[in-house]
């Protein structure tokens, strides 16, 4: 069981090294030549006016929150999908396949409950008018 973690560690190591190398190398070989105009924001060739840190209306924030909620929902579906066969099989799998006669719908039912809960959340949000854009 422990040996199966080696590829994951390898992957994490490679990603870390890659990230550090890219930023580090470009930082080493780069030679900054700042000028006043180069540091100002690019706005199609015209000096910008007013700053971009304005107060946005709240509807943008609400949509972002709703997106995160329903995005995580799909993230949870992935491990469920991987283990779906084991879940819906009362006896341990035989070479990856559930022996006939033992398959139940437990896995599916479990996920439907999960989705139903989030669906209730969606209906609530819908009726509350958070999705109402203008």
């Amino acid at each position: 069981m422990a040996s199966s973690f080696f590829p994951v560690l390898l992957l994490i190591g490679f990603v870390a090294v890659n990230a550090v190398a890219m930023i580090g190398l470009s930082h080493l070989s780069l030679r900054l030549r700042p000028t006043p105009e180069k540091d100002t924001a690019y706005e199609s060739g015209i000096p910008p006016l007013g700053d971009a840190r304005e107060r946005f209306s709240v509807k943008f924030y609400m949509v972002a929150m709703l997106f995160i909620v329903f995005d995580i929902e799909t993230v949870f579906m992935i491990p469920w999908g991987v283990a779906f066969r084991q879940l819906s099989c009362t006896v341990p799998l035989v070479s990856g396949v559930c022996p006939s006669g033992h398959a139940t719908l437990f896995g599916l039912g479990e996920m439907l409950v999960f989705i139903a809960i989030l669906l209730a959340g969606l209906v609530y949000v819908w009726k509350k008018g958070a999705l109402q854009w203008d």
Partner: protein, 435 residues
């Protein structure tokens, strides 16, 4: 009940800042002076965000040239649009007063560089009206052919760039491939792809080479297939319809009052086409119809322009069928260069040749304003002459300049991404707008 109320308040500051605007100071009740303050609207929670000012500036992929739109945005909807133009103002009209008539022809190419040969024809018609001369039959039909070819390539650039703005890249390659075939035709006729300078006062720069009509016939046969492909791809495309229907609507009265012309006016329901209402070059003898939209939104403008492409092909077929023989230039030596063979052999032609080249033709005193249906709208040159070889005033009536002046009205209230679609639908050319 008026919403102002009197509250005894002791203010630490004068309440107005240097610019004379109320400063938001904390209200502390009590003290002597009674001060009247309007009830701040901010008493209930204020969710509206502040407005943001962004520049869709001179250097921007979607402004089709160096137009600058300053947009006041509330979130994503455009509250106000302030266009700034003049970034490509090159003093065309001033130079026109320092050039002879045949020297102005190259200027007309560079002004609306998508419809260059169409502008040459508009200028030639205006100048011939000013000189009071009639052109030959063959030259009339050749100019009709050139005008319609110019309308096709101008609409193709509009099609390509609008599709890129709204997200479809392939029609750009298709339309530019068709443009290259028209470029080949123009290059064989006039020698230049884009800046054609094809007309002279009283005729054309050159007659069409032999085999040119066959090449044009080939183009006429195969071009409708491309239009059908683009039509099949876009007209009932959910994204395209979703992005263009109901945008920048202009009703018929508004469109006429704002002076829109061409596909912009016809998309709003006004069937004004210069070729039908103030005909020139014998357009009344050609059988073609004028597409008219109903809602005046971006989708209708798209449909009107696509239909105009097909009508232009129809006119080209009829013009090609009736192309008469005979000379292209009139033989009035006062105005146009005599043919080279005569100029080198006869003394009198040589004198005319010399006089034309050195001094240029001289119109009688007067003024003329001939209007042509350019792909952008009603294009005309208003020329005033005081008898000398250089015009007193060479005024260009720019259709996109007037069409663009309606953009604040069309854009306000829409989203930021719609601004790009509406701006593309006006089919602006900055060279013509800023002159």
């Amino acid at each position: 009940m008026s919403d102002t109320r009197t509250v005894e308040v002791e203010l630490s500051t004068t309440g107005l800042d240097a610019q004379g605007r109320p400063t938001r100071t904390p209200l502390r009740v009590g003290g002597d002076g009674a001060q009247t303050i309007e009830a701040y609207p901010a008493l209930e929670p204020d969710f509206a965000g502040e407005h943001m000012l962004i520049n869709i500036g001179p250097q921007h992929p979607a402004t089709h040239g160096v137009l600058r739109l300053v947009l006041e945005l509330d979130g994503e909807t455009v509250v106000r649009c302030i266009p700034h133009i003049g970034y490509l103002h090159c003093g065309f009209e001033k130079i026109g007063e320092y050039r002879q008539y045949n020297q102005i022809v190259p200027w007309t190419d560079r002004e609306d560089y998508l419809n260059s040969i169409g502008n040459n024809i508009a200028f030639a018609l205006g100048a011939e009206r000013l000189f009071g001369i009639e052109i030959t039959e063959r030259c009339t039909v050749l100019r009709v052919i050139a005008g319609e070819l110019s309308r096709i390539i101008s609409h193709l650039v509009w099609l390509g760039t609008t599709c890129i703005d709204i997200g479809a890249f392939t029609p750009f390659l298709w339309s530019f491939q068709e443009r290259e075939r028209v470029y080949d035709l123009l290059e064989r006729w006039v020698g230049a792809r884009l800046t054609t300078s094809a007309t002279r006062v009283g005729g054309m720069a050159a007659d069409i080479p032999d085999g040119w009509t066959a090449a044009l016939d080939g183009f006429i046969k195969t071009f409708p297939k491309t239009i059908d492909q683009v039509d099949q791809m876009l007209t009932r495309n959910a994204i395209w319809v979703g992005r263009t229907v109901g945008l920048g609507v202009m009703s018929a009265e508004e469109a006429t009052n704002y002076g829109l012309s061409g596909p912009m006016l016809r998309a709003s329901g006004v069937a004004y086409d210069v070729r039908k209402d103030f005909p020139y070059l014998g357009y009344e003898t050609y059988d073609f119809d004028v597409p008219v939209g109903t809602h005046g939104d971006v989708y209708d403008r798209y449909l009107v322009r696509m239909e105009e492409l097909r009508q232009s092909v129809r006119i080209l077929e009829q013009a090609l069928a009736r192309l008469p023989g005979g000379p292209v230039n009139i033989d009035d030596a006062r105005v146009i260069l005599p043919p080279k063979s005569k100029a080198t052999s006869e003394m009198e032609s040589m004198i005319h040749h010399f006089k034309q080249v050195m001094e240029g033709p001289r119109p009688p005193i007067g003024e003329a304003y001939v209007v042509v249906e350019s792909p952008k709208g009603e294009k005309g040159y208003y020329m005033v002459s005081d008898g000398s070889a250089k015009p007193v005033r060479w005024r260009i009536r720019p259709p996109s300049f007037v069409n663009l002046s309606a953009i604040p009205k069309m854009v306000e209230g829409h989203l930021l991404s719609d601004v790009i679609a509406i701006n593309a639908s006006i089919d602006i050319v900055m060279g013509e707008i800023d002159r």
